[in-house]
Amino acid sequence: MKAFLKEVLAGLAVDYADIRVEESETTRIVYRGRELEDIGTSFERGGCLRVFYQGNWVIASFNTVDESLKELADELAIQAAELPPRDGGLIHLPPLDEIIRMPRHEDPRTVPLAEKQQLIHDYNRLLLEPKQIISTVSSYLDSHRTVYWYSSEDRYIEQEFVRTGFSCQAIARDGVNIQQYGESFGRAAGFESLRGKESMVERVARIAIDLLKAEPVSAGTYTVIIDPLLGGIFAHEAFGHLSEADHIAENERLKQLMRIGTRYGVEELTIVDDPTLPGENGSYRYDDEGVPAQRTELIKNGVIASHLHSRHTAYLMGEGATGNARAISYRFAPIVRMSNTYIVPQNRRFDEMLAEVKDGLYVVGSRGGMTELETFTFSSQYAYRIENGRLTKMVRDATLAGNVFETLRNIDAIGNDLMIHGGLGGCGKDGQSPLPVTTGAPHIRIRNVVIGGR
């Protein structure tokens, strides 16, 4: 493949060019209630070609991978030459030739479809067992992807990715009261990672049923302990996206807010993005611009330490490339994205943190949310009242709202129990969704959080 890609880019009169060809095989299975709603496999092959000349990118994606790509490359170079030049450049890298294979797991391509279907069928049946559960959605996904990448710097990288995941959602009903709860699981691993998920399935059904008896939370300002799942989502959604340099470069307000060296949190607060973690959904060795993956501290000891970059934004802002340019597939050009983003654990135990709260809330999971610059709203999956240092009754419909930076300053305890979570879905940005990522955090206690509710 290297010789072929090299030939496509040969002799282009541009400042930089790269080509990425991808081959993939994906299987999905979806149960809704008792019915198998969808089962099928797709085989994709395609690529994306980019040329950069005098500050402009010209980009094309394609399915046909043959000699005709040479013409396409020439056409893009001509288009680029016609554009008015503008400021900007790229970080350049030395030649390379590297092939990266996944560690050998149970390759999902070799597992018969009947075995995959049986596994999901059994999980779905278990989920439907309690009589209060009226419907479910159980989804299975596996994918095997090989990405071949070559740039005009004579840099060649071949990377293999295997991902498997499972999600289940239960809908419980008692008269007109309908509640739902779901969990999702995904890893850069083989089929083996999906076995033994019975306890996850049973928990999903139990919590959906428990929610039938939970009362809506009373609105107000609380001391809140957030669980690792919601803490991770907060780190990614509310803070991580603000660290992405393509947004910062375009937005004066954000430039001010995200200036390196600005203090936003307590000394104990460190948030990192790390694609080099083994086996996680957001892990890779090189990004989709051939830049080596690296651990980047977004906040270190409470102070803004770095931004996330593509080759282009790193050049524009005069900072180093961080290897965060990613594309969801060959149909798209890479843009600045996160990978595995988490809050670094400290030394507090959950039971200790709990014991110190007289009156508060323990908030678990995330149903999604909205952020607009520094303002955020998240809704949780469920919550418990904390009274005199103990968890008491379950409550529902708790939404957290506030200013990101104020909230970071109000963190007063960071736990020792980091949990990194990868799901079946992923992150969405600029029409590219879902991109595999993980989010993580230990338990975290925050003062003065505004909780919406009734």
């Binding site: 089962i39 099928g40 085989f43 395609g46 980009i59 094309a60």
Partner: protein, 433 residues
Amino acid sequence: MRLELLELAASRVEQADVYESEVDLTEVVFRQGKFFAQETKLTHGLGLRVIKNGRVGFAASTNPQRLEEQVRAAIDAAAFGQTARFDLPGPAEPPAVQTFDNRTLLVNIQKMREWGGDLIEALNSRMPELKVDLNFSRCYREIGVANTRGVDLSFERVELELSVAGLLVQDGIFWVYDYVNLSGGQGFPLEQVAERVVNLARLGKQKATLKSGDYPVVVMPFALPQLLLPLLIAVNGKNRQKGTSPLINRENQPVLSPKITLADNRLRPFGTASEPFDGEGLPAVRNVLFERGIFKGFVYDLATAAACGTNSTGSAVRSYSSLPVPGLSNIEIEPGTAELEEVIKDIPAGILVYGFLGGGMSNLLAGEVALNVSCGYKIEKGNITGRLKDVSVAGNVYDLFQRVEAVGAAQRDLGDYYLPFIKFSSFRVACRE
């Protein structure tokens, strides 16, 4: 390629069909009044549906070297698939539909850049403080459907569209929008677009305030699709099959105001969703969904129709990567007799809406809408007195569309919508402050 794939499958299954799509999409983007980027997407994919032992299987591919594996994957999937209660259709002559004009295909990337530059210049000379984003998109498609009962159809479509968003920063921010469907090869109506955009921006220079309450609201064609969304979900046969449509058992009954006739028209010349046949190869038709307010019936594909004990309405929507589902094409509301100036003149206090934001987050199946007015003006004693900010409207469309007071005499071409303005006699409006 589709016949090759079909032949590989045909002898091993009872029935099969193949959906093939080849797409060449080019986009030219201007941001804040400057050229920003251009991009091309070339896609070619094949979706194979098989019926084996009475069950449906499916597999998709963009890799022509793996046709044999695709056939095997579809057959494997059929072992667990839904029971097929339908037969694929035999050959039938599709109607002639205008979907392709060679002049549109000739509008290349250079031409789009030139038009964009000209429009920005025209806007700059009229209103330099208005910063515009433009998005030109030209999409050439060749769509083919073939099946084991002898159907082999294909057609070409070229869509050429321009979206405009103008930002006015003056005492807060204000967005104005425009859209032009250029698919018919009619040339670029530069002056017309520039005038429309500048007019909206000028009207917005003045700020107006409003107290929360019930007001008459005029919804312009560009904003109307957000209000139609719950109705378009409710008419989908899939929601009848699942028992989740509020229109179940309401066929041939009045549901909307008698002023509203709403149709799904696959035959409209140069509509961006026009096609001579649907995703399963059935001849395309114009389906009237509401006739003078009376609900005429759901839209179906083959499988959903069979599950509901009825016939397909030729409404299968499909891409190469998934099984067909019932869906809509170009949505039309028949024009009334009202003129906008006259309607505004008669409103003592109300709102004129050009853009909504935030559709899709409410309980759409129940007909609930809750929308922010992103581009809207206050009407006071028959005059437009300024732009509104932080205003939202909420209601239920089944209630709202009973309160249609006037329907515009002219329709706007919005690509896959062809709509007049509508005046609602009363709408719940919430305002901050």
